[in-house]
Symmetry: C2
Subunit: 439 residues, 2 copies
């Protein structure tokens, strides 16, 4: 262990320690590897997109594991899947813990899957250690977190928390023209007989374990990230409209080359977004050309901007300037800028953050407080109930990548902290809600 | 008429003048419009890609028109289609004239199609005026000039002239996985019973009429471009290899963002290729990203370079520098540069250029000598026989674009010059071959 461990003596309940000690590293890892076979792709990754055949297979496997241990699966009308372990007080609102089973098309084995398997392992560890919690503890699988097949992402948690009506998305189609409503119906039909839950039922607390998807914990040799906040996100689409022409005949001064004007805009944006503290995240992840032909000047260039920052005032100022910078950068073309997504900065309540940190301290695990760079289902749950997150390190910070990798040891340590945190939160009566910054 | 017309008295044969006067503007335009219905797409363009159903329909229509007038269609094993009008000496090598019927996916109605319809109109005008040429005159349709469905372009003329063996391309596939050999077989089977011609038969001269695909003739209010040369072309593919990562979590200093390094390379290339005379053509027409996802740093960026210049030494120097400039521009990624195509600069023989210019002068048509910015099937025919080209103006210089447009009058004027040139060339005995610069 290293010097990041607190030397303050901290106390959690015996039940919390007992449950954490019952976490079975090999059982959890074996399940993660079984799950990774569903939708496996070359390079060690998975392609298990939302509401696909593979997603249904993963859900069915989870339900089999749950039923084998006597836990109670249920589902809501948007396909969010729950697995309940009862508590002492059946009327008490549950503590929810989980994440998602869907992946990017060329995704890794742990993004989302780890949080679901950690939740299942907590339920088993509670049973193995005969701990009775005051509140029921429920595993949850949120539908379509990734948004790669049906955009946008985090649909399940947005619907559960009432941010968006499910009707708004039923007609969204994937690239093959399948509607979300069709894929959802097939997913619900594949697990018949499950009790139906309402959206937005009361929740005592929500805790999501997840891989960091960044390089910090690995670089600092720490096993746990105590997540304090989730940075805000704004997504934009920039469309530069020029005019196609023949590459061999058209003098450069007469061209309206959409790619070249888009590059000028990106250059100007790169300069404007430059941040010596390297906190701001500015990414051009998608770019398409039309006609995209070797010997044709581009008539259209469309690119996306993913902008994130933990400070809402910075996020607002930087995002609001994008349109003007793009317009100013045009030389021969015109440009349109639209915003597709805006998620506010979220600060998790101290009661939750403290519970996670105290658990890590009690278990003598190297940890640090940190913001989340990625958004998660917890971004939305935070608007509904006291929420928090626990990060475990992933190799080189790689995620959304077939090479995504975590160690069995870190996976088990994260689940120990999750287990202890859940037992401690079940003892707590008043938990403050999240702070939504700049909502 | 305007002051670009030569005031020297010029003489062509009565047969040449008579044939030119027999060109029927309305008949030719009506055929161009009928042809444009095959593969018509919104905006007035066509999608008639090589060896497609639409290409077969266009070929069948041409053969019906030819047979109705008693001309003799034939074909070679690569699908190059010929229509012969006999001459006085059946043993004499034919004068070939034509172009291509295939289009870009979002192409115009006249690129290629004009040269084929002009050739048919010349055959009809010769018959209407009862002119007997010494040499047979043959219309030719070259297979797959565009290269948009099966890359590269100009396959038919390359195979005919022996530059490439057809076996080299039989396994090339389109985006749907159809092989060229399959599409070629279906195309040949769709016109059964046509006599088969060998590749590379002797040709007295090749003259191709084509739209300019550039803005110069229109800007100068001239109806005819007397093409003196075709500038050289080099095509490159640049592949920048980075590493994907999560857009929200990965600090910019730790990224290997393939798009950003590709942009740095393009900026450096833009600077290096800058030409105050605006003669050099430097185009990035295709650019693709992987994974091309809104919230993922790019693992790969692949873009193409289309580089053209009439001076072989400039083309060599600029092209050879590309790899080094790309390597020097990389910040975190690696890069590979490959050359896909290299066509030398071609100078057409004076005998052909003069025949075109003399015909335009005799017909009192505004014209100018000019190089071709685009490459054409004539680039390859020039290595096989004395060759030349005639340009007609197109609106705003637009080509490879549904808005491509020419006037019925200019179309007829171009065909008049083509007809007179062909009759004159049939009287000539010695024609010098093309000069291939820097072969």
């Amino acid at each position: 262990m290293d010097n990041h461990i607190s030397d303050h003596t901290t106390i959690v309940s015996d039940a919390a320690l007992k449950t954490a000690q019952s976490v079975d590293k090999d059982r959890q890892w074996s399940r993660l590897m079984q799950l990774a076979e569903i939708g496996a792709i070359p390079g060690g990754g998975v392609n298990r997109q939302s509401l696909s055949t593979e997603d249904r297979q993963a859900r069915a496997l989870l339900v089999r594991w749950a039923l084998a241990r006597g836990f109670e699966p249920s589902v809501d009308d948007f396909g969010n899947l729950y697995v309940r372990r009862s508590g002492r007080n059946p009327e008490a609102p549950p503590i929810l813990t989980g994440s998602h089973l869907d992946s990017q098309p060329s995704g890794g084995r742990f993004d989302g899957a780890y949080g679901v398997m950690a939740a299942l392992e907590v339920l088993e560890a509670l049973s193995d250690s005969n701990v009775e919690t005051e509140h029921p503890v429920e595993l949850v699988v949120w539908t379509n977190e990734e948004g790669s097949r049906f955009a946008p992402g985090a649909m399940g948690s947005m619907v559960f928390t009432g941010k968006v009506s499910p009707q708004q998305w039923l007609d969204v189609t994937d690239d093959e023209g399948t509607t979300l409503s069709q894929a959802l119906m097939e997913t619900l039909d594949a697990l018949p007989g499950l009790p139906r839950r309402p959206f937005g039922f009361p929740v005592h607390a929500y805790i999501e374990a997840h891989i960091e998807q960044g390089p910090i914990l690995e670089a600092e040799h720490l096993s746990i990230g105590v997540v304090t906040s989730i940075q805000g996100v704004r997504w934009f689409t920039v469309t530069v409209i020029g005019e196609t022409a023949h590459a061999g005949t058209t003098p450069l001064r007469l061209r309206k080359d959409a790619l070249q004007d888009a590059l000028a805009a990106i250059q100007a944006l790169n300069t404007f977004m430059n941040d010596s503290t390297d906190v701001l995240r500015f990414t051009i992840g998608r770019l398409v050309l039309e006609p995209n032909s070797h010997n044709s000047v581009s008539a259209l260039c469309r690119f996306t901007i993913d902008l994130r920052h933990p400070d809402p005032s910075v996020l607002r100022a930087k995002g609001d300037a994008i349109e003007g910078i793009c317009i100013d950068a045009m030389r021969a073309c015109t440009v349109q800028v639209t915003q597709n997504l805006e998620l506010p900065c979220v600060a998790f309540p101290e009661a939750i953050v403290d519970a996670v940190q105290t658990s890590a301290q009690a278990l003598v695990i190297g940890h640090r407080r940190m913001p989340s760079g990625a958004f998660h289902d917890a971004s939305f749950l935070a608007t509904h109930c006291p929420s928090g997150m626990i990060f475990v390190p992933c190799a080189k910070g790689l995620s959304h990548n077939v090479a995504e990798s975590i160690s069995p040891e870190d996976a088990a340590i994260g689940t120990q902290v999750l287990a202890a945190t859940i037992v401690e939160l079940s003892r707590a009566i008043n938990l403050n809600p999240a702070v939504i910054l700049d909502k």
